[in-house]
């Protein structure tokens, strides 16, 4: 139990009559990278929203970092150590890189309530350190996000999760809107996170990417987890069969 970072038991979410997520049992171990796959509306994002406290679950239990947790909101989840890279990037376009990295948790020189003086040098140094740690390359830290490409923005968003001592990083389709080279850059960061032993949940539609990057693949279909497979035990066709429903995983899941 000690090396389990995140565990859910019978996690269920109903939106009125819609059963968006049903009895999801999920486990993530230390240093493990897991991909969540599935068709649109299969329950992937719903699952993530329950873990990160963005929504309140209908039923089920969540353990994080050895304790049972009930996050009232995303900020509580973040304070507990769950960092999420959202599909719609949560960056302020008119701020530079350090300001975005430290948005809402600025380092201060003098504490004067809302008028606390910012420690800009310390934030800049910490930003540089985080970018080195994640191997993110941003040409100019003091340039605003507005002037950056989609890939650079995504890199900043990811570097933000790595700046703080996060215990779990969740990425919701981090490369969906990116070009080939930018995708490669983001994938490099994910590899760096793996080398650093930081656990990750990756939501992705990209089969090649998933097989390149993660240890284990979990497939959602119609609100249920239908497959939970180690990468070496499966292949692309197999996963597609689970996603489309050509293969139902109940028998194997029960056997495992």
């Amino acid at each position: 139990m000690s090396d389990i970072v995140l565990k859910t038991e019978n996690l269920t979410k109903h939106y009125g009559g819609v059963h968006a997520l049903q009895e999801a049992n999920f486990e993530l171990r230390k240093g493990e990278h897991v991909a969540i796959m599935g068709d649109n509306g299969a329950g992937k994002s719903t699952f993530v929203r329950q873990i990160t406290g963005v929504e309140q679950r209908t039923d089920g239990k969540i353990w994080f970092d050895g304790k049972e947790v009930n996050f009232a909101g995303p900020i509580e989840a973040r304070e507990a150590g769950i960092e999420t890279v959202f599909q719609n990037l949560a960056l302020a376009d008119d701020l530079d890189v350090p300001s975005n990295l430290f948005l809402g948790r600025e380092k201060v020189l003098f504490n004067l309530g809302p008028f606390s003086i910012l420690d800009r040098k310390a934030m800049r140094r910490a930003t540089e350190a985080a970018l080195i740690r994640t191997a993110v390359k941003i040409p100019n830290l003091s340039s605003t996000i507005r002037h950056m490409s989609g890939g650079q923005r995504q890199c900043v968003a990811i570097a933000r999760t790595a700046t703080f001592a996060s215990k779990l990083i969740i990425m919701d389709e981090p490369t969906a809107a990116l070009g080939v080279q930018e995708t490669a850059q983001v994938e490099n960061i994910i590899r760096t996170l793996k080398e650093n032993g930081e656990p990750l949940i990756l939501i992705s539609h990209n089969m090649r990417q998933v097989f390149d990057l993660v240890d284990r693949i979990v497939v959602f279909r119609r609100g249920r987890i239908v497959a939970n497979l180690r990468k070496q035990d499966t292949d692309g066709n197999d996963i597609v069969a689970y996603i489309t429903g050509a293969k139902t995983g109940q028998a194997e899941l029960q056997a495992a």
């Binding site: 995303p74 900020i75 973040r78 959202f86 719609n88 990037l89 949560a90 960056l91 302020a92 376009d93 008119d94 701020l95 300001s99 948005l103 809402g104 948790r105 600025e106 201060v108 004067l112 809302p114 008028f115 606390s116 003086i117 910012l118 800009r120 191997a135 993110v136 390359k137 040409p139 100019n140 340039s143 507005r146 002037h147 490409s149 890939g151 650079q152 080279q181 490669a184 850059q185 994938e187 490099n188 590899r191 760096t192």
Partner: protein, 358 residues
């Protein structure tokens, strides 16, 4: 392209392609405007706009004109400082002009003398209570209290009922003007104490304006408050997800705007030695115009106090320049209107050009 352990990474960066700070463009516009007035003056009037031409005065510049330029914009400029941070935060404040009117009336009635030329002050509101010749701190605190309450109502309406800032502050604009008229039944309030009259004497409005401008530029650049203003204005959802308490911040932003409007009211009524219910009409629009001309983006997230100060100087130069060219005041307003629209068009154009990466 540099090679990393995982292959190609890094993107090229050309320091020369860095965009100008917006303030530089505004400053350039100011210089061009002054240059244009200078040129027209030399060619058509044989007089200089900027430089001293009187032989009995020993100065390089026409100091009198420079003083007037900044003096006539400094009171609206104080309001514009507050409006600037409201707009950066993604809001708008239409109530500042009316807050000036209401605050001037209320504060002035606590700043009156008991006797005028040996007779009881005919305008004194609280003479029956003996509230005359009060120390200057009383009307000052009353004024700041008025601005604080108005700002608090604006901010609370916007933050908690989620109505658009335009509507909330429009309501305050009408209400505060009503309060100003009701306070002394439309009569002016006059005869302030000497200490109150000293606040707006001579170049004091300029000194107050510039000090507040410097203070708020520092606050916007170096404090958490400033950072959060820009963050909320540029992406409110991101700011919320980052844990910034949006509602509290917005209330504070409007409270500061209200207090700055009330300081402007004190300076204005002190300078005029009287308060009238019609004071500050249209000041809110002039203040917004100064900010917009100064490069503050109406869509939020961008701008600075420095920009607004230069914007206010452009305002002052236009008014002085038209007087210098002996043109009627009507033309000033027409040109002001054109410049406001032009500044917003320019801002939109700059934004589009940035978006396509040109």
């Amino acid at each position: 392209m540099s090679q990393t352990s995982h292959g190609i990474g890094g993107l090229s960066y050309d320091a020369k392609k860095r965009p100008w700070p917006a303030e530089f463009n505004v400053f350039l516009a100011l210089v061009i405007l002054v240059g244009a007035f200078e040129l027209i003056g030399r060619v058509f009037l044989g007089d200089s706009f900027l430089f001293n031409t009187r032989e009995n005065v020993d100065a390089i510049f026409n100091e009198q004109r420079l003083q007037i330029i900044i003096l006539q914009v400094s009171i609206v400029g104080i309001i514009a400082i507050g409006v600037t941070q409201v707009i950066i935060c993604g809001g708008i404040d239409l109530s500042s002009g009316s807050i000036v009117g209401a605050t001037a009336m209320i504060a002035m009635s606590f700043a009156q003398v008991a006797t005028v030329n040996g007779n009881p002050n005919p305008k004194a509101m609280f003479i029956a209570y003996g509230w005359t010749d009060l120390p200057v701190i009383v009307p000052l605190l009353v004024a700041i209290g008025c601005g604080l309450i108005a700002g608090l109502i604006n901010g609370a309406l916007i933050a908690y009922t989620r109505i658009p800032p335009f509507i909330a502050t429009l309501g305050m604009m009408v209400t505060a003007r009503g309060i100003a008229k009701w306070w002394s039944k439309g009569q002016p309030i006059s005869f302030p104490t000497d200490s109150f009259a000293a606040i707006g004497k001579g170049l004091m409005p300029v000194i107050i304006f510039i000090s507040l401008a410097i203070l708020f530029q520092l606050i916007l650049s170096y404090t958490r408050y400033g950072k959060h203003c820009y963050a909320i204005g540029s992406n409110e959802d991101a700011a919320r997800m980052s844990g910034i308490k949006i509602a509290n911040h917005k209330v504070l932003v409007y409270v500061i705007a209200g207090i700055l409007a009330s300081i402007a009211a004190v300076v204005l009524s002190s300078k005029n030695l009287t308060a009238q219910a019609g004071m500050g009409v249209m000041y809110e629009l002039d203040a917004i115009a100064m900010a917009v001309i100064g490069g503050v983006s109406l869509s939020g997230g961008r701008g600075s106090i420095i920009g607004t100060v230069i914007g206010s100087l452009i305002f002052g130069v236009i008014i002085s320049g038209f007087t210098f060219l002996r043109l009627d005041a009507y033309y000033q307003e027409m040109v002001k209107g054109v410049i406001i629209v032009g500044a917003v068009v320019l801002d939109q154009w700059r934004q589009r050009r940035r978006a396509i990466g040109a």
